[in-house]
């Protein structure tokens, strides 16, 4: 028995120390030196305060800002222990709706979002919740559709906003991978910095 158990225990314990502590701790140190920003969560600060991460979407409800995609994240409901309530872009608990394609609840949610968006040819990213509930991006078409609202709320010419959106539209990575997109937090930061 000893001939089987001794190697098993020794190998598992030693690999836990090596692969679970020594290497990842050293790796953390090296990563923090070479890529300090990414390793720390790509945080963005303004006036010395952390306002978010460049990679994580956040909720914007005011007409003065571009709005992100719908988000299915929730938080514990203080009024009702054991249940949750909607809390868009709650980064402490990433989540998707997980609703199936034949779900009546999903169809109803899509109808409401479409109605709020003007009803015709609504960009799909504006009518559906993302996989993480924290999608930092919207499509360029989605951003373009929001320009009139933001322009009116801020009293800015639409052409100026269109130029800003174009400037913040990122193309495919290496010209090939992924999809063109607009980072909502970065766009809204640039919006606040106008004038």
């Amino acid at each position: 028995m000893n001939a089987i158990l001794r190697p098993a225990i020794a190998v598992v314990v030693l690999f836990t120390l090596l692969l679970g502590l020594a290497v990842p701790l050293a790796f953390t140190g090296v990563a923090g030196v070479i890529f300090p920003s990414q390793a720390g969560g790509s945080l963005i600060a303004r006036d010395g305060r952390v306002i978010g991460s460049a990679l994580l979407g956040q909720d914007f409800a005011s007409a003065r800002y571009f709005h992100p995609r719908p988000s299915a994240t929730t938080e514990p409901d203080p009024a009702n222990a054991g249940s949750t309530r909607a809390a868009p872009y709650n980064a402490a608990a990433s989540a998707a709706s997980q609703l199936g394609p034949s779900s009546a609840a999903l169809l109803e949610a899509v109808r409401q979002r479409v109605a709020a968006y003007g009803g015709v040819a609504v960009p799909a990213d504006a009518a559906t919740a993302s996989g993480s509930g924290l999608d930092p991006h919207i499509s360029a078409e989605n951003a373009a559709r929001q320009i009139p609202r933001v322009a009116e709320a801020r009293g800015l010419p639409e052409a100026r906003l269109a130029a800003l959106v174009a400037q913040h539209t990122e193309g495919r990575e290496l010209g090939l991978f992924g999809e063109p997109r607009v980072n909502v937090l970065r766009l809204n930061l640039a919006l606040d910095a106008l004038r």
Partner: protein, 565 residues
């Protein structure tokens, strides 16, 4: 579907195959003990365990050693998870896991399944992630590769009593293959935006004045081995869809590459070890064909969009975007779906539960086919070789000759054991699903009604028994019933398969290796590739057709007739 989408798919697949060729040569050298750059460390581990790496083991000793290593890993991980609240590196102060959840999670990571009934950023301390889950990501992957090497050796020589030394294979695969790859890929992941820090979560004040808690952690290194070892357990709750776990299209492409490159390389390692590289390429061709077909079905279904949503006024330009992130696009999403389920990885960059019905059928079916396309690291190759034996047996029946593979006669004992192994999956999947669908306390875990609800339960047991780990996430899995039964299904899918497979290895190894004659059936040409694909589809897939007809196929027709639930 677009040309640029297919260009992305083609480029990622080409990068996988191109890297698999040199990696296969390297893994074969490591398996033969010819790579020694960490020799002092390797020797220290052998000394501590009283291991003689040169001592050969028969199939029973090899299997027992593997089971002992896995049992030790299970007990250590279970204890870590239960005691999490008392241990250091827990800046968020998470409590220990419940016994049900700790059992389920420990089985899940030891069996290379990585089914997760918890959400990482809301339940796991940094210590549990690093010293518990990450470590099992390495060990379960090395276990799979070691077993596959043992089976390869059985085919390589004639009249063998021994299949190699488990401890030597296990230690070498960890030190020389998984660890260096994880460091390199992990650094690339940090560069692309994944966090790697021990700092606590950050409280941010948003532009509108609200508070957002930003979760952090030593993520990138664990994510690297999670893909390279086809484990798939996310550091964060929504896995590679999380912007920290899949920050860009390039990161998601590198993840796909990472969870495909070792399984594909192992097919070629088989060719090296039996000294006929064409045999490896034939297996690789079958694997690649299924990945391409699966990708195509998912891509086409998703690009067409959801007809109910299009009728409600959604533009068809982006396709079905529910549960998807803007930055990846549908092409890389579809390739991720097919590769993560074909490869027994189980990471997701989009939510499988929200896929169109036929697209959602693809991941389920790829798992049900036995996780051999290309399958998990090691487990894919040994599963594929079991199907190969069945394929040559079928071919032998058709021409009336004793079947033979690589000069080894395939006889009744091997075929009985192979059928026993192949039946583990349908028994565990269909049995547990059927029971759970008639128990009220189990069906209360379902989120969706109608055929999609059936799919949620079927997917869960498919994923568990197939050691995949992805989910139709609407299912509330953290219940005593599901934690226990899914845990048992994972253990059956792994170990109840391995034991007959290793018995086959022992039996094949002992046979003499005959020289090929003009009557030998060639096992490297397109004819054999087609035969093997057919055997996988029919023997692996047919028994699931009734269940799939009641789930995704029924949902497809009802949805297109305008019915919702």
């Amino acid at each position: 579907m677009t040309a640029i989408g297919w260009a992305q798919i083609a480029l990622v697949l080409a990068a996988i195959v191109a890297a698999a060729i040199p990696l296969a040569r390297y893994i074969a050298a490591v398996a033969a003990g010819r790579v020694t750059f960490l020799a002092p460390l390797e020797r220290a581990i052998y000394a501590a365990g009283g291991i003689d790496p040169a001592r050969g083991m028969g199939w029973k000793a090899y299997t027992l050693a593997m089971l002992a290593a896995n049992l030790a890993g299970f007990l250590l991980l279970f204890s870590l998870l239960r005691l999490q609240g008392l241990l250091p590196l827990n800046p968020q102060g998470f409590d220990g896991l419940s016994p049900w959840l700790a059992f389920n999670t420990a089985i899940s990571f030891v069996t290379n399944t990585n089914w997760q009934a918890y959400s990482g950023e809301a339940a796991m301390s940094y210590l549990s992630q690093m010293a518990g889950l990450s470590v099992q990501n390495f060990l379960s992957a090395a276990t799979g590769i070691a077993l596959a090497l043992a089976l390869c050796r059985a085919f390589a020589g004639g009249g063998l009593k021994e299949l190699g030394n488990f401890w030597a294979d296990f230690v070498r695969m960890n030190l020389y293959v998984l660890l260096p790859l994880a460091i390199v890929v992990g650094l690339a992941f940090v560069a692309l935006g994944m966090p790697q820090t021990l700092a606590p979560y950050v409280e941010a004040t948003t532009l509108e004045g609200a508070t957002q808690t930003i979760p952090l952690g030593p993520a990138a290194f664990q994510i690297a081995i999670k893909h390279l070892g086809t484990n798939g357990g996310g550091f964060f709750g929504v896995n590679a869809a999380h912007p920290f776990e899949g920050p860009s299209a390039l990161a998601t492409s590198l993840q796909i590459w990472s969870h495909q490159v070792i399984p594909f390389a192992l097919a070629l390692v088989f060719g090296h070890m039996v000294r006929d590289s064409r045999q490896g390429w034939a297996l690789l061709a079958v694997m690649l064909a299924f990945v391409l077909a699966g990708t195509w079905i998912v891509y086409a279904s998703e690009a067409a969009g959801n007809p109910l949503h299009l009728a409600a006024g959604v533009s068809p330009a982006l396709g079905n975007m529910e549960g998807k992130e803007v930055r990846f696009g549908l092409a890389l999403g579809a390739l991720f779906v097919a590769t993560t389920t074909g490869a027994s990885c189980g990471a997701v960059n989009l939510m499988h539960d929200s896929l169109m019905p036929l697209a959602g059928l693809v991941p389920m079916f790829l798992i049900q086919l036995g996780e051999v396309l290309p399958g998990g690291v090691g487990s894919g190759l040994y599963g594929m070789l079991v199907f190969v034996l069945l394929a040559v047996f079928v071919a032998g029946l058709m021409v009336g000759r004793t079947p033979e593979y690589l000069g080894k006669k395939v006889q009744a004992r091997e075929i009985k054991l192979a059928m026993l192994a192949v039946l583990v999956l349908p028994a565990a999947i269909l049995g547990f699903t059927a029971i759970s669908l008639v128990l009220p306390f189990a069906t209360s875990s379902l989120q969706d009604a109608g055929p999609h609800g059936l799919s949620e339960m079927l997917y869960a047991f498919t994923s568990a028994a197939g050691n995949n780990g992805s989910a139709f996430g609407g299912l509330t899995a953290d219940t005593p019933w599901l934690n226990t039964t899914l845990g048992i299904a994972m253990a059956l899918g792994r170990f109840a398969y391995i034991v007959p497979m290793m018995a086959i290895a022992g039996s094949i190894a002992a046979k003499p290796k005959l020289a090929a004659s003009s009557g030998s059936f060639p096992t490297h040409g397109p004819l054999f590739v087609g035969l093997l694909a057919g055997v996988i589809l029919i023997l692996g897939g047919l028994q699931f057709m009734p269940a799939l007809a009641l789930g995704p196929i029924a949902e497809h027709f009802l949805l297109f007739a305008g019915k919702t639930f």
